[in-house]
């Protein structure tokens, strides 16, 4: 459609030709595209920025009318604020400026100073330095610590002090920190894995015992035999438990041996136990390569670690794992059902008004709000089916529900129902694209309908099915509203697949990336500290879903190419 651009038009002519509206339309496309790209850039910058070890500033801060104090922390954000706003906030400012710069400083040390973020006015910062000796400690609780290392202690006795060179002090600390980390991982393993397994088996025994009580047909001798077995097993488990308990006591004394003396920004010296420290590093002393290395390590940790401090620190591995498992189970359920329904609609059902209505209905189900599926899942799967299953199969656990409560299976089923239309529509479209000649050729050679379907039609439709499945997975991975009702929790104690028999725990609640974003961003007590992590999680989710979608698009294009050659 060539636009005549040969000559310059008068304004009237220009308007009459619809040029302004064409430009407005072009601007609409442009704006939408810019919005998408801008959003992705925003997520990338904020998400990836989170892991970079920022330099730590030390400065004197003396706002008017207040005494001077030393400030140590990362500079997070800077903005200009009109002076009236600051005056009304209570600052006594003597200045001609209209705007003042304000900076957000992450100063950590929540246990020492109460808040780990503070706003300061840039104009009143002086003597800004970046001393190499400032260290950052990531801790298991109370967030980061920023300050100076002043001494290392072992069982209360100083083994290295400020008098020695900083190098010696720092190395003494790192050495001991390595030891503490090792001990910590041992403790973690015993507490989470070994003792967790024992607790799980004890709980199973309790249920077996309760099952015996409920079973009225059991002969008394058999009952006694079983009871004795249970007692013996329980005694064995208790003994095992005590062994671990003793080991734990030993480990705890060992890990609590060392501590350090650190000086916070207000000059206070605090003693920190090494058991509580996750990482220690001196960002100002790192060169670019150190930082890159550190960055990669942090990113790896983010992907593989468990969350700490009410999900605001640490990794998101359980959420990734939960999302993947849920999506996998959903795929296993939705694929056969979706394909069978599509094959029925296209190949077996008599085409007519009825199939047209069904097709419209299926199409529309894709537009039904996801929360409605969540409500259905909660009511039908959990409270109706789940409690029936509990009555029949798990009476010994009652009144504690087994399947009558939100869990992995129900979440997967609900999402399977939600994504069913996607798979049906995609598969049907694939079926309709198969040239008639191929089908008829197969039938003419004597194959039955089922054989034609199985050997000719379905293999050729498989890319379409894959497209449908990928789109379904992408939708399921990003869906949060229904999951909130049917099985997602903010913190699951164990993964739904673990070392305890029967290894797969369909009744368990799980964590999910999307819900993690919602929960940490909106339900967490310390949103400011958690925000970078939420951006990182959001970025991860977007990347996963974008990859899934792009592969679906690629597959679809490939499919179209393939049939183009067939049709000729």
């Amino acid at each position: 459609m060539p636009l005549e651009q040969q000559k310059r038009h008068s304004f009237y002519e220009w308007c009459r030709r619809g040029e302004p509206l064409i430009w407005i339309n072009a601007a609409a496309v442009s704006l939408s595209a810019i919005a998408v790209i801008g959003l992705l850039i925003l997520l990338t910058v904020r998400g990836f920025g989170h892991f970079w070890p920022a330099d730590v500033m030390q400065a004197n801060y003396q706002p008017p009318g207040e005494s001077s104090k030393v400030l140590i922390g990362e500079r997070v954000q800077k903005e200009a604020v009109p002076i009236e706003q600051l005056r009304s906030a209570g600052f006594q400012l003597e200045t001609d400026k209209v705007f003042l710069d304000r900076e957000l400083i992450k100063s950590g040390n929540r246990d020492v100073s109460g808040a780990d973020f503070s706003w300061v006015l840039s104009d009143y910062l002086s003597d800004i330095t970046y001393p190499e000796e400032i260290m950052v400690l990531e801790r298991h609780e109370w967030g980061n610590f920023y300050g100076y290392l002043r001494g290392v202690k072992e069982s209360g006795e100083a083994v290295a002090t400020q008098d020695q060179s900083h190098e010696v002090l720092w190395n003494a600390f790192l050495e001991r920190l390595e030891r503490a980390k090792e001990l910590h991982s041992k403790i973690e393993k015993i507490e989470k894995k070994d003792i967790g397994a024992i607790n799980y088996r004890i709980e199973k025994l309790r249920l077996r015992e309760r099952g015996l009580e409920l079973d009225e047909d059991l002969s008394s001798e058999k009952r006694e035999r079983e009871q004795a077995e249970i007692e013996a097993e329980r005694a064995a488990l208790d003994a095992e438990y005590r062994v671990y308990q003793e080991e734990l006591v030993g480990l705890y004394t060992a890990i609590n041996r060392d501590s350090i003396i650190a000086e916070a920004m207000n000059g206070r010296q605090v003693e920190l136990r090494l058991a509580k420290i996750v990482h220690a590093f001196k960002p100002n002393a790192m060169n670019v390569f150190d930082k890159v290395w550190f960055y990669i390590a942090k990113f790896g940790e983010f992907l593989t670690d468990e969350p700490r401090e009410a999900n605001t620190e640490g990794g998101i591995f359980p959420a990734i794992f939960g999302t993947v498992i849920m999506v996998l189970i959903m795929s296993i359920i939705v694929t056969p059902f979706g394909v069978v329904a599509a094959v029925y609609l296209r190949e077996y059902a008599r085409q007519g008004l009825m199939t047209r209505i069904i097709r419209i209905a299926v199409n529309n189900l894709a537009g039904v709000p996801s929360i409605v599926y969540g409500v259905f899942g909660l009511g039908f799967f959990i409270y109706f089916l789940g409690s029936e299953i509990d009555q029949v199969f798990f009476p010994e656990a009652l009144p504690a529900p087994t399947f009558g409560t939100p869990g992995l299976l129900w979440a997967s089923l609900t999402l399977a129902l939600l994504t069913l239309p996607v798979v049906i529509v995609a598969t049907e479209e694939g079926l309709s694209r198969i040239p008639k000649a191929l089908r008829e050729g197969s039938l003419a050679l004597g194959a039955t309908k089922a054989e034609t379907l199985w050997r000719v039609v379905l293999p050729m439709t498989s890319p379409a099915m894959m497209t449908g499945l990928i789109l379904a997975v992408a939708r399921a991975a990003g869906e949060v509203a229904p999951l909130m009702l049917v099985g997602v929790v903010k913190l699951a104690p164990t993964l739904p697949v673990n070392g305890n028999f029967p290894y797969f725990h369909l009744d368990q609640k799980f964590m999910h990336l999307g819900f993690h974003i919602y929960d940490v961003g909106f339900q967490s007590p310390n949103v400011e500290a958690a925000r970078p992590l939420v951006y990182a999680t959001a970025l991860l989710l977007v990347v996963i879903i974008a990859l899934l979608n792009l592969s679906a698009v690629a597959l679809r294009n490939h499919l179209r190419e393939k049939y183009k050659s067939l049709e000729l």
Binding site: M1, I24, A33, A80, Q85, V98, F337, P369, V375, I517
Partner: protein, 741 residues
């Protein structure tokens, strides 16, 4: 046809193949219809969950036996929690605990009264506390309580009824003459009793409870109340639970509202004309008074504050027959009540929802009634001295069409209103299930989203489908598809934590962007017209968006950069404050504007791809014909392409609307979720979907609230289903039309 495949061959293998073919057909048909049935199941299950909301109550008589104990008239009857033990207090001071199932006496006794004492009046503090007072002819009163101890000997429940005297074992003096009417109110702080004596005046006492710090022992400190003189003879006096409102009602239907603290009558009037008061009781919570009369009407009245004064006002009335009401019995845990009339007709009503739930005829006219705390058992005493036990099934009386969609006058509100407030901490709370604010919030959010999304998406679709260079189109379409796939939780998170603070901080920028964006683009386009042809020809047709992109970015950057200075000069440095002060518009950080932008973003790709599809598939020979006849591309678009594609664009808008209505996470995260009805763009809202997400986790399964949330889901389901079906039908029609062209 498949039969012919097997003709002539009768080998085992052929049979096996035939069997497989049949099995596949049966299996796929069964599986396919099963899946389609499962989809139907959603609809029917939702319906199944909400049906009980609209069912009326069922009741049936299960027992009938002779009244227990003294032949003296009954003063009061009650049933305990489990509906196993009944309580009857007779006018001669004897009391009886009896088994509800067969009428046999469990225990009996007489109130601790002098042998010659004559009971002249009776009143109960509340059905839940079970503390009652009897007034005597000598001016004294006795306070007692019927109580039930539950123990589990041999793992079976045993209910032991006892009669207690919580304050004094002996009658206490309240006045010097006979207590004609009495009313009693007990609270944490004080006990108040007021009586109308034979002298024709009100006498009242207050006993303030003072707790000793160390022993935690409670001592009562007595004080006299001064009460105003009355000009009517009361039929009933009632003291509210806050102990400051005294309702005096005469037989003829006059009322006097007495402020006990101020010692004066603050309101006076008549309840009804041409009828006589027959019974008056507090509804649960003691805020509303139910008055019934000889004309068969029962009305709910409560205090309404208006213009600084308190008025006793009639809120709603209930009537099912013309026969006079004998007695009213309010439910203990809900705002429902049961009435029985002269003809022995029993009616169940619910106040808030104004529902008449059931009506039945008793075998004999009744005189007294007691409803069990769980409202499942009703004990009725007949004129013939018999007791009837009725079982009631009345699960969800709270919900009706008027509650959901009309203005309702709730207790302690100055006027009828639309309110959603489903739960509170107190037991006597009146649930407010109005869908109106939620539906309003849903439509408001969708409206602002569509205002932003519809022009952008439709204009974008027109350009992409009709003007854009194919090479660019191949890049733009996947980008928009990616936009569609973005999880809404991410959009919601960005809207709530990034966009909302940004908008709040750069409010002038937001307005100037809306204003200057089109101006900037048009200005650029006009100037482009003046650029010499030798530069212009380097930009091929259909690449306009790339040209305007820098302009758009520039406009945004300049607007944001200018925001603070503009705010300083025009709005004294704070546009929010200016809005509130100058225009009286309140400003929430998480508001409809933020939701509109975020949800608009979510809806754009949906509208865009369907609309683009509709425009692009307009047959090419139509537009070529038009162009060949000399029309400009724009004229072709407006005159030929758009009319053909308009149904498709319409259906795209419908589907986008459906998506905006059902979106949950964005609204949940980007608004304050307050159910207000205000079109103000700077205030938040609560939508149906977000409401479900917020509340369903905390409801009790199968409670009315739970089912109301299912109803909300059903409304959403039906709305989107109808909208989408319409859109789909329009699209199919369109497809057929293209086929014909």
């Amino acid at each position: 046809m498949s039969d012919s495949v097997f003709a002539g061959s009768n080998t085992r293998f052929a049979q096996w193949r035939k069997f497989k073919d049949k099995a596949a057909a049966v299996g796929i048909t069964a599986g396919g219809s099963g899946v389609l049935f499962a989809i139907l199941l959603i609809f029917f299950y939702l319906l199944y969950e909400i049906m009980p909301l609209f069912q009326s109550a069922h009741m049936e008589q299960t027992q009938r036996y002779a009244r227990v104990g003294s032949p003296a008239p009954t003063l009061h009857m009650a049933v305990e929690e489990q509906a196993e033990v009944g309580f009857r207090l007779a006018a001669d001071g004897t009391y009886y605990f009896f088994s509800v199932s067969d009428g046999s006496i469990v225990s009996e006794g007489r109130l601790n009264l002098p042998a010659d004492a004559e009971i002249t009046s009776f009143n109960i503090d509340s059905e839940n506390s079970r503390i009652f007072a009897v007034g005597l002819a000598d001016g004294r009163m006795l306070i007692a309580r019927h109580h039930y101890k539950i123990s589990y000997p041999n793992d079976e429940r045993l209910i032991t009824p006892v009669l207690q005297y919580p304050y004094a074992d002996e009658p206490i003096r309240l006045a010097d003459s006979s207590l004609q009417k009495i009313t009693l109110r007990n609270s944490e702080e004080a006990l108040v009793a007021i009586a109308y004596t034979a002298n024709g005046g009100l006498e009242g006492r207050r006993w303030v409870k003072e707790e000793d710090f160390l022993t935690e022992e409670i001592t009562l400190v007595e004080e006299n109340l001064t009460l105003p003189d009355l000009d009517i003879k009361p039929h009933t006096i009632l003291l509210g639970p806050t102990q400051d409102w005294l309702y005096v009602l005469s037989h003829k239907g006059q009322y006097r509202l007495v402020d006990v603290d101020e010692e004066e009558v603050v309101d006076a009037g008549v309840l009804f004309d041409n009828a006589l008061l027959t019974d008056a009781r507090f509804l649960l919570g003691g805020y509303s008074v139910l008055v019934s009369n000889s004309a068969g009407e029962t009305a709910q009245w409560f205090n309404v504050k208006s213009d600084g004064a308190v008025h006793f006002e009639k809120i709603r009335s209930f009537r099912n027959a013309d026969k006079g009401i004998v007695t009213v019995s309010p439910e203990h845990r809900r705002k429902g009540f049961v009435t029985v009339n002269d003809a022995g007709q029993l009616d169940i009503y619910y106040s808030t929802s104004q529902r008449h739930l059931a009506s039945t005829k008793l075998p004999e006219p009744a005189t007294k009634m007691a409803i069990a705390p769980r409202a499942e058992t009703l004990l009725i005493e007949t004129q013939g001295g018999e007791l009837l036990v009725w079982e009631i099934e009345n699960e969800h009386p709270e919900v009706s069409w008027s509650v959901l969609w009309e203005k309702v006058w709730y207790e302690s509100y100055p006027e009828p209103d639309y309110i959603w407030q489903s739960s509170a901490s107190t037991n006597d709370f009146e649930p407010k299930y109005s869908f109106a604010p939620l539906a309003f919030g849903t439509l408001k959010a969708a409206f602002y989203a569509m205002i932003i999304a519809a022009p952008l998406a439709v204009c974008g679709a027109i350009y992409t489908a009709y003007f854009m260079a194919p090479a660019m189109r191949r890049k733009v379409k996947p980008l928009i598809e990616l936009m569609e796939a973005l999880p809404t939780v991410i959009l919601g998170f960005l809207a709530g934590l990034w966009l909302a603070p940004f908008v709040e901080k750069h409010l002038p920028a937001v307005f100037s962007i809306f204003l200057f964006m089109p101006i900037g683009v048009l200005l650029f386009a006009w100037l482009w017209n003046y650029i010499p042809m030798r530069f212009r020809k380097h930009v091929p047709d259909g690449w306009h968006p790339l040209l305007v992109a820098p302009v758009i970015i520039l406009v945004v950057v300049v607007c944001v950069w200018m925001s603070a200075p503009v705010e300083r000069v025009l709005f004294d440095g704070d546009m929010r404050a200016w809005f509130t002060a100058e225009l009286g518009i309140s400003f929430d950080q998480r508001n409809a504007l933020v939701v509109g932008i975020a949800m608009g973003f979510a809806v754009i790709p949906t509208i865009f791809s369907i609309a683009e599809d509709a425009i692009f598939s307009v047959p090419k020979h139509l537009s070529y014909g038009s162009l060949a006849l000399g029309a400009t591309p724009w004229q072709t678009l407006v005159g030929v392409v758009m009319p053909t594609a308009s149904p498709g664009i319409f259906s795209a808008l419908m589907i986008g609307m459906g998506r905006a209505v059902g979106e949950t996470m964005i609204v949940l995260m980007a608004t304050g979720n307050t159910p207000v009805m205000d079109m103000n763009i700077f205030e938040g809202m609560r939508t149906l979907a977000a409401n479900i997400a917020v509340e369903i986790g905390e409801t009790e399964v199968d409670s009315s609230h739970y089912r109301v949330l299912f109803l909300a889901a059903f409304v959403l389901f039906m709305f989107t289903f109808v909208v989408n079906t319409l859109a789909e039908i329009v699209r199919q029609r369109l497809r057929n039309r293209y086929g014909n062209l």
